[in-house]
C-alpha cells in the first residue's frame, strides 16, 4: 500500500487502431490497456501480487516459509508410519454408578425445550470412542413432532455437553 496509484493516462487510440489494422495480427487481447501496452498494464502483468496486497516485510521469505511448513507437515504425517501403537491408559471408575455398563449406551427419559415448551424425549449417553468419556450422543422424542426435534437435536446435544467434563 506504500505506493500511490499512478494516474491513468488516456489511451493512445491511434496506436491501437494501427495495431488492430496491421495485417496478420491474430493476437488475443483482454482489455484496451493490454492492446495499447499501457505502462500500468505492463507493471500489473509483471508484478506477482496486486498493488493492494500487503507486503511480506520479513527477511524470512514467503516461499522459504512455505517450503519449511510443507516439509514439517509431511514429516508430521510420517509419524503415522510408526510401527508401534502409542501407549493407552484404561481408567476405570473408583465406585461404578448403578446402571452403567462400560462400553454400552445409557438411555434415560428427560425433557428438552422446543419453542418454549418442554418436550419429553429419550436421551442416549454414549462412550466417546478413544477417550471413553461419556457424553450425550443423541436425543429422540418420546412422542410428537419428531422431525422438528430431530432437526434441532444436534444443537441440543451440544448444549447438554459440559465442555469441562
Amino acid at each position: 500500500m506504500s505506493e500511490t496509484k499512478t494516474p491513468s493516462r488516456p489511451l493512445d487510440l491511434d496506436a491501437i487502431r494501427a495495431r488492430l489494422s496491421s495485417a496478420g495480427n491474430d493476437e488475443y487481447w483482454r482489455s484496451l490497456e493490454q492492446l495499447a501496452e499501457a505502462p500500468e498494464f505492463l507493471e500489473f502483468l509483471h508484478r506477482e501480487f496486486p498493488r493492494q496486497a500487503a507486503d511480506w516485510d520479513d527477511t524470512f521469505g514467503r516461499r522459504h516459509f512455505l517450503k519449511l511448513m510443507g516439509a514439517s507437515l509431511s514429516l508430521a504425517g510420517a509419524t503415522g508410519c510408526l510401527l508401534r501403537q502409542p501407549e493407552e491408559k484404561i481408567v476405570p471408575y473408583v465406585r461404578q454408578p448403578e446402571r452403567i455398563v462400560p462400553g454400552d449406551e445409557l438411555y434415560y427419559a428427560t425433557a428438552t425445550t422446543l419453542d418454549g415448551y418442554a418436550q419429553a424425549c429419550w436421551s442416549k449417553a454414549g462412550w466417546a470412542g478413544r477417550s471413553r468419556s461419556r457424553a450425550i450422543r443423541s436425543i429422540r422424542p418420546a412422542w410428537g413432532r419428531p422431525t422438528l426435534l430431530a432437526r434441532r437435536r444436534s444443537c441440543h446435544c451440544t448444549i447438554l455437553i459440559d465442555p469441562r467434563r
Binding site: Y93, V101, G103
Partner: protein, 218 residues
C-alpha cells in the same frame, strides 16, 4: 559415431535389473518381518502397571471367574476393567496392609482412579465387541491365551488383521460350548472338526458374512 556403451555394460545392466528386483524383495521381506515382530505387535511384552496384578493367582489359584472383575464382558463391547470398589471388596478384608496394594487403597481413599496400561489395544479404526464373541462361544483363551498362567498380563496373540481373519474364516476351530467360554486349558472339551461345525450351526454363526469389511471396520 562410435558406440556409446562398452559391451561390458550389457552385463552391468542385467545385473542392476536383477539387483533392483532383489532389493525391493528384501525391503518388503524386512517390512513384513518387523511388522510381525514383537517389537511392533508387543506380543509377550509385559507393560508397566500401577499394581503388579497376577491373573495366575486370582484365576488359577483362587478360582475367580473372569466375570467377577470384567463385569460387562457378556453385555457390552468393552469387557470392563474393575472399579477400585471391586478390588476393595476382598482387599478391605485380606492383604489389607500389603504395600503392593497401596495404590488400590489410595485410589479408594482419594477417589482418584487407577490408571492401567492397555495390554490388548486394537487400533481405533477397528470395531470389536466382546459380548458377541462370548455369545457365540469363543473362549477368552482364543484371543487372550492362557491367562490362568500369566503372573503378569501380556499379549500372546498379535491381534492383527490376519489373526482376526483366520478365525473369522474358519470359526469352527475356536468355538466351544457356551458354558466353557470362561475356562482354560484342560477344563475345555476337545472338539472334533465335525463337532465344531455343529456348534457353528447351533450358534447361528453366519460364516459367509464374517469376513465382510463392515463387520470390523464400521
Amino acid at each position: 559415431m562410435g558406440q556409446l556403451f562398452h559391451p561390458a555394460s550389457n552385463a552391468f545392466s542385467r545385473a542392476s535389473i536383477i539387483a533392483g528386483i532383489l532389493l525391493v524383495g528384501v525391503a518388503l521381506w524386512v517390512w513384513a518381518v518387523v511388522y510381525r515382530s514383537p517389537y511392533s505387535t508387543e506380543v509377550n511384552v509385559v507393560r508397566h502397571q500401577p499394581v503388579p496384578f497376577s491373573h495366575e493367582h486370582h484365576v488359577a489359584g483362587l478360582g475367580l471367574d473372569c466375570r467377577y472383575c470384567h463385569l460387562s464382558v457378556e453385555k457390552s463391547a468393552f469387557a470392563g476393567i474393575p472399579p477400585t470398589q471391586v478390588c476393595m471388596g476382598c482387599h478391605s478384608q485380606i492383604w489389607k496392609t500389603s504395600p503392593m496394594l497401596e495404590p488400590v487403597r489410595a485410589s479408594y481413599r482419594s477417589g482418584k482412579p487407577l490408571e492401567w496400561t492397555r495390554v490388548h489395544d486394537l487400533p481405533d479404526f477397528v470395531y470389536f465387541n466382546h459380548s458377541i464373541h462370548i455369545a457365540k462361544g469363543v473362549g477368552c483363551e482364543s484371543c487372550h491365551g492362557r491367562v490362568d498362567q500369566m503372573p503378569l498380563m501380556r499379549k500372546v496373540k498379535t491381534l492383527q488383521m490376519e489373526f482376526c481373519l483366520d478365525c473369522h474364516r474358519e470359526p469352527q476351530d475356536q468355538l466351544r460350548e457356551r458354558d466353557e467360554v470362561f475356562r482354560f486349558g484342560d477344563q475345555v472339551k476337545k472338539l472334533t472338526p465335525d463337532q465344531g461345525q455343529e456348534l457353528v450351526q447351533a450358534y447361528h454363526v453366519n460364516v459367509r458374512q464374517l469376513t465382510d469389511c463392515f463387520v470390523c471396520h464400521r
